[in-house]
Symmetry: C2
Subunit: 355 residues, 2 copies
């Protein structure tokens, strides 16, 4: 049993005494203890592929802040790496693949990877679960099929993912094959994380918002729906799911109908308008601009409280940022954030109960 | 009188025999004749500040393609340059300001610039109008008050405009002052373009979509509304206006209520859904992904026609890209685009009339 299960209850839209909060990239470079562990590991992938060290950094933010969930420390690109594309992270730069997937031959050669190559991830999940000892739930995650395709086709990060967008228009058949393989791979990967102990899983669709609406439906939302359907069809207890498309604010009703239990919101979305748009179908997760954490504790408290109040007292809000914590964030601002979310949400509930 | 006034009629939501088309950055680096003129001018600002050369590049795309409007060749940063911030463009890089606007003293020192410093722009407008000889309308433009503030505060371009977003949270009073001055400057600047002969004016809000919804209303949409109100209050014939917020797809009903005659759509927006969201209030302008122009003529024709069909036969669609033409665009793809928009829109009208 999980002692603080507010995150899971909010995801099921059940009442909670306060709004649960966790933060994308809560284990990361803004924490000196993370940097120390990463230095020990030698490299980002050295850290991600070492279950003991991955567990260590996963738990670090929970030792500092009363967060309501842990999230596996890993990277979305472990999956295409296991497909044989040769992932590396040059110091101070983004990810790079040794091989790209741009032509018919490369697309035909793609296959769902042997999950044994990703055992370090599942071992980390199992180890974190043991070390959490039921304090809070553990969230597993994967990149969305389309977001993985972006890196696989482009060969790394990009300001505009021009190669991918060109392929969406000129060779939709090829891009369709890539995301279909990715959807099967991601479904198997998340199922294995669940088997290893993940209490919920999230799909990060960082780049779906770059697409025209119809291409988003075809290449991003559709494959995510396939992943969610595959997870829902598994025997055993249902593990809740969250989808997050950055830049998907105009498509929230469709995203909410994807089969996910929760929908992540980036910081541009008005959370009250989002609730009105999706009704009571799903939990909403978000959505403070991560750059608010670069200001000061008073500003952090004010902006975080505004979101808690806009989300209202009804069940189904999980507080988060609208994107990952940025490296220069002062940890004391994160402390102020978590405290403000808990305190304001208790006040909002009391006021609603009294009225 | 203007011979081909389809652009102005579509902007007023009046019937036209075909859907008018113009393209953001239609005068630009994808055209060899533009590069030749720019080389002659020596630098980007040398080109922008020389009315004869600015007129020359403005007219170049019209000599190649049957476009339905010309747009002044200039840069949105002429206004903060005239405010004394010291604009320069380093070769191969983006714009840079010698002075930034980040503290109280710099904000207090801001003022609406002497329009005499921008006379080269108004001279270019007058010259282009003469050389167009009434063939098609001429569009004037300015950056939105918030988008100008982004560059003024950051000191140049940025992937995330972190300094501006931090100011929006920590010092909303200061950012409010900057955009208020900018709104007065932009209103005066556009009024002078209209006096010089511009037949319509457009506000480019490239960065408003980076803001949370409430900050967008306060710092971007509100000041744009002020600009539009100032223009509407001028004596003389009403000159139609267009606002374009990149990333504003979730806010279209509010943008459509801003007082503008037309609303620009970026390429992520479903134009049929946009029409349903805003009703018949405004014309819609857009919204092909500019990267479609990096594919091939057949793909360009198919994707452009799909947008024309999605926009439907009702008046009030101006075809455009969802963002500016990118430098590597083959001119023959632009030719295919313009031809497809004209041909498909005639077919759509005939089919609607016959049914």
């Amino acid at each position: 049993m999980i002692q603080n299960d507010t995150f899971l209850r909010a995801l099921r839209r059940e009442p909670t005494p306060h709004t649960p909060v966790w933060l994308m990239r809560q284990a990361g470079r803004y924490l000196p203890e993370y940097n120390a562990t990463r230095a020990k590991a030698g490299s980002f992938m050295g850290l991600a592929t070492n279950p003991a060290l991955a567990a260590e950094v996963t738990l670090q933010p929970l030792a500092r802040f009363p967060l309501d969930a842990a999230i596996l420390f890993s990277d979305i690109l472990t999956v295409p790496d296991a497909m044989g594309l040769g992932l590396s992270f040059a110091e101070g730069e983004g990810p790079r693949f040794a091989r790209t997937v741009r032509d018919e031959a490369a697309v035909r050669a793609l296959a769902v990877p042997d999950l044994a190559k990703l055992r370090y991830v599942f071992d980390a999940v199992a180890l974190i679960k043991r070390e959490l000892a039921g304090r809070v739930p553990l969230i597993g995650f994967a990149g969305s099929p389309f977001t993985l395709a972006c890196y696989m086709i482009e060969g790394g990060g990009s300001p505009d993912f021009a190669t991918v967008r060109r392929m969406a228009y000129a060779r939709p058949d090829l891009l369709g094959e890539v995301v279909a393989v990715n959807a099967r791979a991601v479904a198997a990967y998340l199922a294995a994380q669940i088997d290893a102990g993940a209490d919920a899983v999230m799909l990060f669709d960082t780049w779906g918002g770059l697409l025209p609406a119809d291409a988003y439906r075809r290449f991003s939302l559709g494959p995510m729906r396939d992943v969610l359907a595959a997870l829902a069809a598994r025997p055993g207890p249902r593990v809740p799911t969250i989808v997050f498309t950055k830049g998907g604010g105009a498509w929230l009703p469709e995203i909410a109908a994807s089969g996910a239990d929760g929908v992540g919101l980036d910081w541009t979305v008005d959370i009250a308008a989002a609730r009105a748009a999706v009704g009571g179908r799903v939990a909403l997760q978000g959505n403070l601009d991560p750059l608010v954490l670069l200001t000061d504790p008073d500003t952090v408290r004010r902006e975080a409280s505004a979101i808690v109040r806009a989300a209202g007292p009804a069940p189904g809000h999980i507080f988060n940022l609208g994107h990952g914590i940025v490296p220069g964030t002062p940890p004391e601002n994160v402390a102020a954030l978590v405290e403000a979310v808990h305190a304001t949400s208790r006040t909002v509930r009391l006021a609603a109960a009294a009225s």
